[in-house]
């Protein structure tokens, strides 16, 4: 059987899917409902508090980095096959490069931003 890097992408897809399933709903509720409607305090995402929590705390930084980057690979893998499924099979290699390339670019940008905080 030909050597394939499919297992790597599939693993990242799964890991990202699990992270997204577990953590994104509550985060969306916080930024989309609690903050705008003033539930849980008027200054829920206060700059000082969040800045300190993220910049002074390596586990928080690492977790936030993982929560942001892994789901990008979940998207890349799933969206790649969605585009192929709706008839772009002839350009499947280009689609793979663009999808995984976007996720990798997002990860590099994240590394830079997280290093600067």
């Amino acid at each position: 059987m030909a050597k394939s890097n499919e297992p790597i992408w599939w693993s990242l897809f799964s890991a990202g899917g699990m992270v997204a399933a577990m953590l994104l709903p509550i985060l969306i509720i916080i930024t989309g409902i609690l903050v705008p409607f003033g539930l849980g305090g008027n200054d829920l995402l206060n700059f000082e508090r969040i800045h300190t929590a993220v910049s002074q705390n390596y586990p928080v930084k690492l977790i936030l980095f993982i929560v942001i980057t892994l789901p990008l690979f979940h998207w890349a893998h799933r969206f790649r096959f969605t585009l192929v499924d709706v008839g772009l099979k002839s350009v499947s290699t280009l689609i793979s490069v663009l999808c995984y390339g976007s996720a990798i670019t997002g990860t590099i940008v994240s590394v830079i931003i997280f290093l600067r905080i």
Binding site: G32, L44, L64, V86
Partner: protein, 132 residues
């Protein structure tokens, strides 16, 4: 290689095949949840970036969360991401086929563990962010 002349006939499939039946539409909706998943992660990254830009830039960004368009976008995103979460956990027993001796651990139990974990994780995150 002579493959060209030997290639089998492939019946053409219209690109709108997924509109033909409800399960296909639901499948496509599930696949499209990934756009909202990635979109929200980009939003989170921008939030972290604003943290590096100081209190004013960050404050303006947080204030913008109160705008009707942001709230609407969050609600749409929440609907799609919840659909991702539900379909994802419902798939776990198909991937994680566990046995206790000869007997297979019930599918509902495997998925149930993930749903329980999800509730616990969500409460922990909410309490941490609320600063309790």
């Amino acid at each position: 290689m002579g493959e060209k002349e030997m290639s089998a006939y492939h019946r053409p499939v219209p690109n709108t095949w997924w509109l033909k039946r409800t399960p296909y539409v639901l499948f496509m909706l599930r696949e499209l949840t990934s756009i909202f998943v990635a979109g929200y992660c980009v939003f989170l990254l921008i939030l972290v970036y604003k943290l590096t830009q100081g209190a004013d830039a960050y404050g303006n960004f947080i204030d913008a969360l109160k705008s009707p368009s942001s709230i609407a976008l969050h609600f749409i995103t929440l609907a799609f991401v919840l659909y991702h979460t539900i379909t994802w956990f419902n798939l776990t027993p198909k991937i994680l086929v566990l046995y206790k001796g000869e007997e297979q651990i019930p599918k509902a139990l495997v998925a149930g563990v993930f749903y329980t974990g999800w509730v616990v994780v969500s409460i922990v995150v909410a309490l941490l962010v609320l600063g309790m």
